[in-house]
Amino acid sequence: MSRSFDLLLVGVMLLNFLVLGTSRIRVCIQAAALQGVLLGLLPLLVHRSFDWRTGLVAAGTLAVKGLVIPSLLLKAMRDVQIRREVEPHLGFVASLFLGGIGTGLALLFAGGLPLAPEHDGSLVVPASLATLLAGFLVLTTRRKAITQVVGYLLLENGVFVFGLLLLEAMPFLVEVGVLLDLFVAVFIMGIVLDHIRAEFSSLDTERLAELKE
């Protein structure tokens, strides 16, 4: 694996911290978008030989993760006029701290798993797990529905990173299917967000805790 590849992965991980650290939802979304763009570039670096499949996957990823979904979220944010994630269940500093621990754990865990020679020493596995954890952190600690969607995006990005190891293993159809599913999922979430806003005139998930026991 090339050095630039690992650099991009480092960038992905740093973006996790940006998402975890900021209270401004716009920044969150843009960070996720940027992460999407990086993910879109990664496939091109995996293969020494460029083929049309990789190109399509890269393009699709760029489009979906980098453009469409972020713009959807930004629109939703504008509609409901919220700027900041106020008083999350876990403070931003603490989130960053946990994110750091998570990244460390990811490195440890990945160390325990065998790798193919060609992947040896690459940051793929730790990066993927770290992003996954970051996604989970956002999902479990943030109150605004939009932020949670961002968390879900991070989660998916983590999975995607790992998928790079299997680019040639994964048949094209599945790749596309995965992308499509992700897109539809977020799209439907967007719709639901819209309804939530219409129903509660807010995107605070505290309102969504009526059903108990």
Partner: protein
């Protein structure tokens, strides 16, 4: 190539439904599609062939069992749907019908998929298509339920994807050309990389376990089942869970073939027992009937995992229980749907004396209650007895005793609520036109109960052989 048609049919119908103008036509489209699907299923079941490597869509024994359940259940739901939608004619049903058909298509694809990735795609599709169904009632409670369902479901499915990738990488390290087709994975199983396989199984267990709804991953269930219309609840509790269970079983089969079966079974047992306990805790004095059924679903999914975890004849019992549970849930959810309509509520605050106000539906609900709590001569009893016997045969006396104790607790919890709702004096008639039992709204329930009763009295030979094959595929054995 019936497989492809089977998958294509519902999606095509969904498109048609989306295009159709009139709500009544759309409502009518459902039974038509369901009947056709059932017929095709029958054909597919009759002409099953041995698994060929490299084929992506094919019906093996396990798939056949679940496909039969799925198609039959959807048929009943579709029979029930027109009457129900006529009752709710105040709201458009386009999204609803499309969602239903999409669910059928996704689930069928899931059952037929012989490829790890494709199977995942199908499951995600089913998840997404059912979201709108839960939101049918369009009130704050239902939107909350939908939100949780989507969030938790999607996260679970994402974890499952990572798990699938792990398995794929395990194969990659196995050093042969990576194809995620089950057949080849099974053939190569011994050479898969154990650490990745185990990790992959854990992720898949958590991911698909979320869809199956075993504790502690069940948290979306009561909300979703509680707020969705009766027939959706039925499809979720009987169809979605069964399909997700099938997905898990396919993975389990690979893990077992790779020689990690013991490890996997321990995890299954742990989650299973935990589910039973959780269900018991939440059923005690549960005032909401639909949530009660949701926890009952948690309980029975737990039983499925336990059956597989025990191994031997327990696997047969688990698969048989999957069939029984699906149709029993059909009885319960549809009957409860009627009661819900009649009282305009589903908690003990509104519902009392249902046996007087709605004799037929309430009677069927009572029968379903006895069936689901494992009373003979209904099917669930037979399958639970099989699982229990397997536990004893495996020498797990404590486990068996624990199962018995938890089942008792579940009965105590469930019975109190159910009887309180069915017996006693009904409240004065509501002002709006009184709901009555009509054939269209009761015949599907009677059919479902008939199936449950039949399965309790005897296992038809074809089904028996099918279950036996499926059980042996999963490393268990059939009834001695």
């Amino acid at each position: 190539m019936p497989a492809l048609v089977l998958v294509a049919l519902p999606f095509a119908a969904a498109v048609v439904a989306a295009l159709l103008r009139s709500d009544r036509a759309r409502a009518a489209l459902l039974p038509a599609t369901a009947t056709l699907h059932l017929a095709l299923t029958a054909v597919a079941l009759l002409h099953r062939v041995e698994l060929k490597p490299g084929v992506w869509l094919q019906l093996d024994a396990l798939g056949a069992v679940v496909l039969g359940v799925l198609s039959g259940l959807f048929f009943l739901a579709a029979l029930y749907a027109p009457g129900y939608l006529a009752l709710r004619s105040d709201r458009p049903n386009r999204v609803f019908c499309v969602g239903l058909l999409g669910f059928l298509g996704g689930a069928t694809l899931l059952v037929l998929a012989q490829h790890l990735g494709l199977m995942w795609v199908a499951l995600e599709a089913t998840t997404l298509s059912t979201g709108p169904l839960i939101y049918f009632n369009k009130n704050p409670r239902s939107i909350e339920a939908t939100w949780k369902y989507l969030m938790i479901g999607s996260v679970g499915v994402a974890l499952a994807l990572l798990g699938s990738l792990f398995v794929g990488y395990a194969a990659y390290l196995g050093g042969h050309d990576v194809s995620l087709v089950f057949r080849s994975l099974l053939d190569e199983a011994p050479r898969l990389s154990r650490p990745w396989l185990r990790a992959g199984f854990v992720f898949l267990l958590v991911g698909y376990g979320t869809k199956i709804g075993v504790a502690p991953l069940h948290s979306w269930k009561p909300d979703a089942y509680g707020e969705a219309p009766g027939l959706v609840g039925m499809l979720l509790a009987g169809g979605m869970t069964s399909a997700a269970f099938l997905a898990l079983m396919r993975v389990y089969r690979i893990v077992a073939a790779a020689g990690e079966g013991a490890f996997a079974r321990e995890l299954l047992l742990a989650l299973g027992v935990l589910s039973l306990a959780t269900a018991a805790v939440f059923m005690v004095r549960q005032r909401d009937l639909k949530r009660l059924l949701a926890y009952s679903s948690v309980e029975h999914m737990g039983l499925l995992l336990i059956g597989v975890g025990i191994g031997g004849a327990g696997v047969f019992g688990a698969l048989f229980h999957l069939v029984n549970n699906a149709f029993t849930k059909g009885v319960l959810f549809l009957a409860l749907g009627n009661i819900h309509r009649a009282y305009g509520g589903k908690t003990l605050d509104e519902v009392t004396g249902a046996l007087r106000r709605l004799p037929l539906s309430a009677g069927l609900f009572l029968a379903g209650f006895f069936a689901v709590t494992g009373s003979p001569p209904f099917g669930p009893f037979m399958s639970e007895l099989t699982i229990l016997t397997a536990a004893f045969s495996a020498g797990r006396l404590l486990l068996a005793a624990a199962i018995l104790a938890l089942l008792a607790a579940v009965f105590l919890g469930m019975g109190g609520t159910v009887l309180a709702a069915l017996q006693g004096e009904p409240p004065p008639e509501p002002v709006r036109e009184a709901f009555r039992d009509t054939p269209s709204r009761t015949i599907p329930i009677v059919l479902a109960l008939g199936v449950v009763l039949l399965l309790g009295l005897t296992i038809p030979a074809p089904l028996r052989s099918l279950l036996t094959t499926a059980a042996t595929d999963l490393g268990g054995k059939g009834l001695p």
